[in-house]
């Protein structure tokens, strides 16, 4: 089970562009809205966030420091 992008359904306008660019099948259209499906191989390409005009999809990065 892998971490998935974050979807805010209240911002999603159902344009479906994110579904067309998703490389791993984590995003699917259910009726007129986008839903997330659990997949094992989301590579965090961030293309869904890139094409989302409403900001409904977010691919946040954890910022961590490795101490010397």
């Amino acid at each position: 089970m892998s971490t998935l992008p974050v979807l805010d359904p209240t911002k999603c306008d159902g344009c479906g562009l994110c579904v067309t660019v998703c490389r791993c099948g984590a995003l699917v259209m259910t009726g007129a809205t986008v839903t997330l499906v659990q997949v094992d191989d989301c590579g965090w390409c961030c293309d869904c966030e890139l094409v989302c005009e409403t900001g409904a999809l977010q691919c946040p990065f954890e910022i961590i420091t490795i101490e010397d």
């Binding site: 971490t3 562009l17 579904v19 067309t20 660019v21 490389r23 590579g43 965090w44 961030c46 293309d47 966030e49 890139l50 094409v51 005009e53 900001g55 977010q58 691919c59 946040p60 990065f61 954890e62 910022i63 961590i64 420091t65 490795i66 101490e67 010397d68």
Partner: protein, 223 residues
Amino acid sequence: MSITIENISILGYFKGVGADRLSSLLPLFGQRSFSKGQTIISEGESEQSLYFVGAGVVKIFKTSAEGKEQIIKITRPGESFNDIAVFSNGPSPYSAQALGTTTVVYLIHKNDLMPFMEKDWKAAQNALHVLADQSRLLLNLIEDLSFKNVMARVAKILLENSLHGAEGFQKLTQYEMAAMAGTAREVVGRSLKSLEDTGAVRLERHQIVIVNKDLLNQLAGLN
């Protein structure tokens, strides 16, 4: 599914142009489909058709001699590309690649488009608006890339927002970093890759790992 008057009437170039006028243009349009990752236009290619995205998404980008990519624009349904090559009589200044699973584009050759625009003031006026909007976007990108040391600002943002495991992880999207750095998301993506090239950070799926804090501080101009 073939192109219709309705498909054309929503394109920036043809908004407000009468359906009777558009019906004369319709047979001159071509339609092509591309699968994800397929190249539609290569930089330097002598392609003289104006393209419109019908469905899916098209990435417009330039590639350096070293293979580094700079995204110019993400083109969505209704938007055009290859305008510069068509109106300047030159080669395409950028590449275009299909991002969507099935990307559909409509295209019309300049030899068919120009006579139409010469007779239709509304279409010519629309073209000026589209090109002006594209010029503004390119100027903003030039400003970001030329005058702002975005890499230093992104380095500073990473340092200011990194926490250690015990404190929980701070999370930021590339859009949020762009807003904090006062730049475009496309520029942040490239800055992160540049920072990775220096060896200061490592990009790992949904993590940005600071592996050399001293170097990152130096790149951020903090010591």
